[in-house]
Symmetry: D2
Subunit: 492 residues, 4 copies
């Protein structure tokens, strides 16, 4: 109930040619914690006494800080010169299985190889079946493992060619890092669904899901891995022009960035798809206000604009600034206080008959809400259960009327590219067949407005509207999806 937000995919971080690579990866994964809180893992490559490359690994269930709670892990278990790491939120694959924690590592005929994947493949099940029929033994229920088998079975002799051949066979969303005995390889699917950025520190190159993972490490941002691009970093890569770039897709493909990365998922201090997230969020607030303003009821009254913290803070700021520009008497206030002590494992005993619900996460600031006309800004509504409880809380604090404004359109369809929504039947927009009046009634608010798809894309400055995937709003899937495939294959 508390996590009534589209939960998403994963975060990846990789670095090559530096002392203590695991420490950079650790801090990078910490900065990417919002992209996956279920499990975390780091792999490093080091030289053994015999001069061979050895892979070292530490993975576990929990937050980065829980999995890496012992400083000795870094000194004793994770030496080396290169590293990749992964934060996980499960999309496919049973979430409880420790086997599914990435990065995955194998030893195959070309040596060691480790992989960390953000995204979701759409033809993994078909390839998996083919591989199994050919005698492949799968160890996990993860999409990602098919890529390993495709690489291991490729008869080509050059490792980069093996990887290119493997990636040309898979479809869907992937921002992927591969560590080998002597290389760090990064690749992004031709549509560029998920972000992936290249950075540099001293002579070393870094790749990460978002630039916030660079900032914590004082790494400079260079550019993004382009959609459909595979880059190779090795000991010869000293300058940006040394980056070896390969094209994965042989024909041209249109960019289809996940719009939810801007709306909700990425951190506001990150730069993704070439634009600051914070900038888009403020713009979303402004466009939302211009199309869906709320006016005061009386001459001297100020409309109170509050956000659902923290993800909607910037949108609310933009919304109120636009109201002001439109000379609508208003004030931005902190009306909800959020508790940050709710960890992964917080339990709510006895909550059934107690209506604790959102109260463990939010409390109202009575002074700012009492007898006020309140605009509640949120980035999205999924099931609507949390929103409904928040409305009740705000009402109890004395708000005279409550008006919800959402900085995205109603979600109507599932995502097959790495975003985790509840089942279609549970989506509030489907439950009420898009009837806004009924949703207002269910939520208990005086008014509710979503952005239209066009309004939302209007806020995506620096981008043409066609460059975004809007499948969850429109049902237009840019990469075809096989929804009939026998699910039981995954039951291991």
């Amino acid at each position: 109930m508390i996590n009534d937000k589209p939960q998403c995919h994963c975060g990846v971080f990789g670095i090559f040619g530096i002392e203590d690579p695991a420490l950079f990866t650790y801090y990078g994964l910490h900065a990417l914690q919002h992209r996956g809180q279920e499990a975390s893992g780091i792999i490093t490559a080091s030289k053994s006494d015999s001069g061979k490359t050895k892979f070292n690994i530490h993975k576990g269930i929990g937050l980065v800080s829980e999995v890496f709670s012992n400083a000795e892990v870094f000194e004793k278990k994770l030496p080396g010169f290169s590293s990749i790491g992964h934060n996980r939120y499960s999309t496919t694959g049973a979430s409880d299985s420790e086997k599914n924690i990435q990065p995955f590592t194998v030893n195959y005929r070309m040596g060691n190889l480790a992989i960390a994947h953000n995204g979701q493949l759409t033809n993994a099940d078909i390839i998996r079946k083919e591989l199994i029929d050919d005698g492949a033994i799968f160890q996990t229920t993860s999409d990602t493992e098919v890529i390993l088998h495709l690489i291991a079975r490729c008869k080509l002799e050059n490792q980069v060619d093996q990887i290119l051949e493997a990636l040309r066979k898979v479809e869907g969303a992937y921002s992927i890092l591969i560590l080998t005995d002597d290389k760090l390889i990064a690749a992004r699917d031709p549509n560029g669904f998920r972000p992936l950025a290249i950075g540099k520190i001293h002579d070393s190159f870094v790749v990460a899901s978002e630039t916030c993972a660079f900032d914590i490490n004082r790494i400079d941002y260079l550019r993004d891995v382009e959609p459909g691009e595979l880059i190779v970093i090795d000991s010869d890569t000293k300058n940006i022009e040394d980056l070896k770039s390969h094209k994965i897709n042989l024909t041209e493909t249109e960019k289809k960035h996940c719009v939810f990365e801007f709306i909700y998922f990425s951190r506001p201090d990150s730069r993704i798809f070439g634009t600051n997230v914070d900038k888009i969020r403020r713009k979303l607030g402004k466009v939302l206000a211009s199309h869906h303003p709320v006016y005061p009821d009386k001459p001297d009254e100020k409309v109170i604009v509050i956000s659902v913290p923290d993800s909607s803070n910037t949108v609310a700021m933009g919304y109120q600034q636009q109201l002001e520009k439109m000379d609508i008497n208003s004030k931005h206030e902190i009306g909800l206080i959020r508790s940050h002590y709710i960890g992964r494992t917080f339990i709510t005993p006895g909550q059934g008959n107690r209506e604790i619900g959102v109260r463990i996460k939010f409390n109202t600031v009575k002074g700012v809400l009492e007898d006020k006309k309140v605009v509640l800004i949120d980035d999205s509504i999924v099931r609507g259960t949390t929103s409904r409880q928040l409305v009740k809380l705000i009402r109890e604090a004395g708000a005279r009327s409550i008006h919800i404004r959402i900085s995205s359109p109603p979600i109507l369809h599932p995502c097959y590219y790495g975003m985790d929504f509840p089942s279609e039947e549970e989506l509030i927009a489907n439950r009420f067949k898009g009837d806004i009046t009924k949703i207002e009634e269910y939520l208990g608010v005086e008014s509710l407005e979503f952005m239209t798809q066009d309004q939302m894309l209007e806020a995506m400055v620096d981008h043409t509207p066609d460059n975004f995937c809007t499948a969850c709003f429109s049902g237009n899937y840019p990469v075809k999806v096989n929804t009939n495939f026998e699910k039981s294959l995954y039951e291991v």
Copy 2:
């Protein structure tokens, strides 16, 4: 380095005469988590088969959610009809000792008795020595244990009289809850240093450090336990007029609330000392702006007001609103993003040579800071190390000039009433002997302004200035302190 804030005392919660009292206490302690993150404990009183009252206990090191991570604890270990709980941040007593986790419980000649204490006693060491010389055996290094011994040794026959006699012997700061076989007793020191509020749900009475612990449980706030008041709740207490009130101090004593509860420590959604915290904080921002405004350098420029999240958010809002009222061109922005994944046990390996510092907790939003004149609002500066690093971060994000405004005066003296500052030598205001120019230089800012004591007290609406303890700013200690007492007594 990260916790470069005055760390403080503890939170207490008690409830009497209700089903599942431990659940109320659990949620209440969760809401009071900011008052102590080191350890947590709950005690309940239940009836055994023989009709006698039995005390049940569960305590541990960690956050409330860590100590109570198993729902079975409530069903199996904590049945009963009344309960008290405690969140701990150690002030005196070695912090690593599990023995010091409250509530403490004893079995003495009048039956069971448990105690939870927020505050710090100033004559505990003297009383402790007297008791030890008389054959008392101490189990902890905590101040609080002397109260237990004073009660157990009191020759009076009435339990409430025993407690009153004990409390009349101790001096300093205490907001205290005592659970007995058939009563819940709450008491507050004559100066009222720490808050303590009374609430009611159905026919049951509740006492807690802050009202946010009521909100989460849908408990109604009634009134505060008055300074110098001891109240008794038992099975006859059904209405507010049934509350039995006793006077602890026989002569009149002046109120001396801890002003830091308003400035920094309590939650903005709580009501303490009779006033909403959020209201005082906004007022602090306004007074701060009116005395210490920052003007734009150029005609069309807007001064950017940002806060150190989350504790200074409301102050920053008040500050910018006042600037606006003063027609100073300005904008409130979110310039720092705070990570909420830094738990109690986050480690920072290799940070020595890495300058990770505040980067694990804060990142800048480049777009809003670049080439701007920035006002950074904070509630207090203790050592100054964190502020200095934040300034560096903001500078790296491109700020043209940085102006710090603090919503309290410089801290110069230790607190003996429950607030935990670093040693006097470490306080930045002492290090630079109050020379603001030198502090500006150290922090690397264009300007720095503190509030004066009078300005700060001007913001304490609903209160007369004399009602606050300002010892940490002024050195005027309202309750005398024996600083020479042999510390080694506590070394167990």
Copy 3:
């Protein structure tokens, strides 16, 4: 069901004036593990930088090897020059409470003091009540804590006098070690119920429950602490004549050693009460055989003598040797194999309908039992449930007839001096009112013989029969017992 033996008390070990005293204590407690498997603790005294004595402690639930599973504990937590340790099997006091793990330590007006106690006091409850009425605060439900309070409250100025005064007030069984800032004190109750031996290594003195704790440490045995003796070891104690000896009891008291220490409880390789345990056990077997022989049914047949391993192995050996001496055709065989992988926490899921029972601990060696007349030697029968299952097992292995011989009399009465029997109603001898025929029937054997009390005492070579407590057989309690005292006092 598996532990169908009288479970007993505790083991103690202390050492003074040596490097790494905790290591000696650790190995000593390991050798004394059979005396208590529930919890273990070690306390050391070390000098702090200021020259004061500091007490260091490590305790926990579990076997010695479980509580001390980390070698760093010794280096980092347990430095010093003297140490005492304790293995616990709970007699009084709730077994699940970590508070009750000994040694107990306190800081009182004479400095630090720690105590480790083997035995059980008979007037602890009366003294406890008096102390509580006088304002003492108890932290545990253990007998032992009353001694601490008596010492702390004693007005005498000399610490040894304080301890003597305290011990003169308590009655019952105690072999006790006390560690102070500069002394190791050992005391044994006037009846000498439990063993306590003095050893020496280099210039250092050691005290332990059994001599097996000396052997593992290459410590030489000197003599026993005498019944009613208190000895003081300090930095002046270099030779045996330096041991300061004090008399606890002012009038003469008869020795009353616990006969079960010889029969079952102590290790066969120990020397207690001045005699090798193994010697007494073999003698018990011989006396048992001479009074209760088993004859073969046919001329060439050999009676097969087997034991319940491991505690009855020596008795069985003595029994068969005596049969041989009596020209009774017989053979000692290993008929039962015991599993040693059953730790403290072994679970037996689904055993209800599965009759796993003793099978998880014992299996038969079919080849030696098939078609044989078998004598099963055991040291005692308590409930009889295990014996009954063993008989069934032996029968299934093909034994033609089974004859049980027990090296002690029937147990009819509870022990108040530290041995833990089941309730009187559960004792098999009581259930069948001493009717041997009915017990034979219940166990399913062809014959059963116990030793009489006189026969048993006949085997106690080197001792006069009067020197033993036989209360559990005869009901003659050498120290009066108050069985009516309100038990609920202990319910903390």
Copy 4:
């Protein structure tokens, strides 16, 4: 140092067509604990709601009782109708890797398949390299995984045929259990190195390493899986004649049982290779005595025969009975007491300068050794370090002279079929180049005698001498071994 015995392989248990199969496996693995104490695992097959077979798994590091310490595991995690389990002692493969804990399970084109293996393959590295070159991805460093890949890649359509084809490719020692969606398959290598027995309970069939795993579960022993036999158990297998038997090897192969299973490794209460272990051990003692007796020094003296408990107890008994038959005046005594509290994780801090050594495991019974001529019976000597320390202990207890008699020949060569000896250089017989006088000197004994290979085989009643592998004594390896294969392949 303590485990100075040949450590061996593993134990397996499987059951088909019964309620609660995991419970049978749990108790069976407990009975087989001596065959591997490092890790344990159970897999069950159950029907999912859709009627498909689902595999359930629980594995972990530690003893059976440690891995299965929670009864809920059985109810919640391990439902089903069939099960296999494995106790592990690592032979090849890094022992610290959790990945290597068996049973292994995979999902391949024919469904689920799990495998548990006792033994060691001699051509695993060669096959592994071939498979890797062909694109196979290995997850463990275990021999056993090659069998899985061979099965998964087999193009035959019948699952049993696939398994037969796979087993025909591997060489070496294996007693193997395979669980599939609807079958339990058991197979034993053509030489029959390791034991494997078939049992029956009600209508269900069971397979286990030793019969002691049947006894604990009241399962009846039927017969052994024959060398080179693969048997198939499914839902049609109700009677012994329903067991489907397949021949693995197409040509005849000689039986080569591991003689160490009789000498030391199997439990004395088990029946393996068709004979009771206890019977062979007693016979070994008798043959040893007849060839290597020890005579008393004086007319009335009795030679004292003691064993190193517990593995040599039966041999010592046989030895002394034979001495008696030979009219050599002698007595069997318990001279060494063994501690059973030394778990897997017992630490020996400070032992370097303390000579704790065997003292943590053994203590002497002084009374039986003092001034005696002692024969110490042991089953084998590997490094000799433990024996040397035991001799020292016995000498300290006052033995006049010490004579070691060993119930096996000197070990000179490594085992490649699943027994784990130290390196050849460490073997005492190699160190002293077989010079018995020098070994006597090293051990500090008056005399030492091993059995010759012929004497040892003379004791193997019911068997012809040729039916045993004696490679570790003679260097004659019945299955060829490739010792040059690149070891680094296994470094994952």
